[in-house]
């Protein structure tokens, strides 16, 4: 049986979730060389209201491209946390932006104030999504820090490279401080059951 990892990045429109999805997929697919498929909720929702992007990664070709039961859920606002935590697997990881998410339904969630970090430390609230990407790279083993940095640099506008690199670092640092939780097996450590 092949390995499959389902991620949903959720929040409200304008938080940059779709871009996050693209960067994460690019990091995993192009820079880390795995199979990846990225989908999103589209249309009016992208301009206000709730928004989500999904990334599925695998070591083999991906059949169903949308997230099924989640290995990782990022909730950037309270509503998306409430809406989607039920889709999380038992050993799935929940990461919330504690700037906006006050009630967390499960104990072992990572609470990191991405938006506050972006606003206060980096003076640019818009990079909260990049801060969150940094945290994901640190808290999971699905993407290497090197790949995520390369993918961020390739996608962000010229002239904002330093800001975004700082944002990634800030996210990683914040993740280090966040409480440790169970992390799924690393891809590289997996025993291929098919062989």
């Amino acid at each position: 049986m092949s390995f499959r990892y389902d991620i949903r990045l959720s929040g409200s429109g304008g938080q940059g979730l779709i871009l996050m999805g693209i960067i994460l997929a690019e990091a995993i697919g192009i820079y880390d060389g795995k199979f990846v498929s990225q989908t999103q909720s589209y249309g009016p929702e992208a301009r206000g209201g709730s928004s989500k992007a999904e990334v599925v990664l695998s070591d083999t070709e991906i059949d169903y491209p949308k997230a099924m039961s989640l290995d990782l859920l990022l909730a950037m606002n309270q509503k998306s946390c409430d809406d989607y935590y039920m889709d999380l697997k038992n050993d799935g990881i929940l990461i919330v932006d504690s700037t906006f998410v006050n009630q967390v339904p499960i104990q072992k969630a990572f609470r990191i104030p991405f938006t506050r970090i972006a606003r206060e430390n980096l003076k640019r609230e818009m990079v909260a999504n990049i801060v969150a990407l940094g945290a994901i790279a640190k808290l999971t083993t699905i993407v290497t820090p090197k790949a995520i940095e390369a993918a961020v640099m390739a996608r962000v506008p010229k002239g904002t490279e330093k800001l975004n690199r700082d944002a990634l670092k800030a996210g990683m640092n914040a993740a280090m401080k966040a409480q440790k939780a169970s992390v799924p097996q690393m891809l590289s450590e997996r025993v291929d059951e098919d062989t």
Partner: protein
């Protein structure tokens, strides 16, 4: 430093269609903005002028379809992209492209309908519009990708078929495939077959623009090549002039059908997934084909002999492959995001004892593997 020709890219389905079109030699695009096909316009407005092609945003889809036919007659490989409502507007001129035998490619990124319907949600409800949308008897080629890679490959194939058979070719994508991003590698040096229309080699005075040939496809001169001929939407004789003679009309219409029907084997594209021993086979296309494959995998894990047949060619209907699974499987399930457009065809060609079940979803969401599994358990 030697330039690397092989690129690994994370592309949307729509973006892969653009890459495929450019690779196939598309040099003219006319379109009108509509979700979820807009990315194709946007990207081609960047890319086409770089390769001396032309991008134009017309006043509506009727005009877009007219412009690509005109451009094709003047020698350019041309394309337009739209969604349901715009596709409806194109139908009149689509028929023109069929009868005047003008190669061109139309992408329809399907959305829920009727009318404005569900602009940003997936659907597969234009299957019959693609087949019978334009009036009159006509054959049509309709292709349907289900992965980003297939978006690229099928677009190239669509242009090849259009040029080879002198006919419009429709690519049906659904919102999921159009907007989904996946990794694909594109190698500029890769040896991909690109077909260019066959031009006449006879002197202009010998040229018969709509001559019957064994292949059924006459040679096509471009405007300006020195072969002056008449192109019309009226039923015409072999010289292209309007005719109302029954003895000229009949062979002409039959040739239009024959040029497609005698090449079914070449036109049919699809994939059998573990169907050899399957007791249950899921027949699906577009994004649902992926759910089908997943469901088949999951079912096999549970010890059920389930296979899947993916249709990449929607029209002409893949009768032979479908008949093959009808013979080997006792149960056929056809999940579609419409009220049953392809399942009707499957039932139509079913001459066996196999039972055909459908899953019809029209709520703007994709059919999930679980839903297919549930149906398998229900009908088994």
């Amino acid at each position: 430093m030697k330039k690397k020709t092989k690129k690994e890219l994370l592309l949307q389905g729509n973006e892969a269609i653009v890459e495929g079109a450019l690779r196939a030699g598309c040099r003219f695009f006319a379109g009108y903005p509509i979700t979820p096909a807009t990315e194709i316009s946007e990207l081609l407005s960047v890319r086409l002028p770089q390769v001396d092609g032309t991008f134009i945003q017309m006043e509506d889809e009727i005009a877009s379809m007219g412009a690509i036919i005109g451009a094709s007659l003047a020698g350019a490989k041309s394309m337009t992209a739209t969604s349901g409502p715009g596709f409806s507007l194109m139908q009149e001129n689509l028929g023109y492209a069929v009868i005047a035998e003008v190669p061109c490619v139309i992408v329809d990124a399907m959305r829920g309908g009727p009318s404005t319907g569900l602009p940003t949600f997936p659907s597969q409800s234009d299957v019959m519009q693609a087949r019978w949308g334009t009036h009159g008897d006509h054959p049509i080629i309709v292709l349907c990708p289900s992965t980003v890679r297939e978006c690229y490959d099928i677009t190239i194939r669509a242009f090849n078929m259009a040029e080879k058979f002198r006919t419009p070719v429709i690519i049906l994508v659904d919102e999921v495939v159009a907007h989904m991003r996946e990794k694909i590698s594109i190698d500029e040096d890769e040896d991909i077959e690109i077909f260019n229309r066959v031009k006449p080699t006879v002197p202009p005075e010998w040229y018969i623009p709509y001559e019957d040939t064994p292949r059924g496809v006459p040679a096509m001169a471009n405007f300006g090549d020195g072969y002056r001929y008449h192109v019309t939407g009226l039923t015409h004789d072999i010289r292209g002039f309007p005719t109302s003679r029954p003895d000229e009309i009949d062979p002409f219409i039959r040739r239009l059908f024959r040029k497609i029907s005698q090449h079914f084997a070449e036109l049919h594209m699809g994939e059998f997934f573990e169907t050899d021993d399957a007791e249950i086979t899921i027949i699906a296309y577009g994004c649902v084909a992926r759910s089908a494959k997943r469901a088949a995998r999951d079912a096999r894990e549970r010890g059920l002999k389930v296979g899947a047949l993916k249709l990449n060619t929607i029209w002409p209907f893949m009768r032979t492959p479908v008949e093959k699974v009808l013979q080997t499987s006792k149960i056929i399930i056809v999940p579609e995001m419409n009220m049953g457009q392809i399942s009707r065809e499957v039932k139509r060609v079913n001459k066996t004892d196999a039972k055909v079940f459908t899953i019809n979803k029209v709520d703007g969401t994709i059919i999930t593997p679980e839903e297919i599994l549930r149906k398998i358990k229900e009908v088994r």
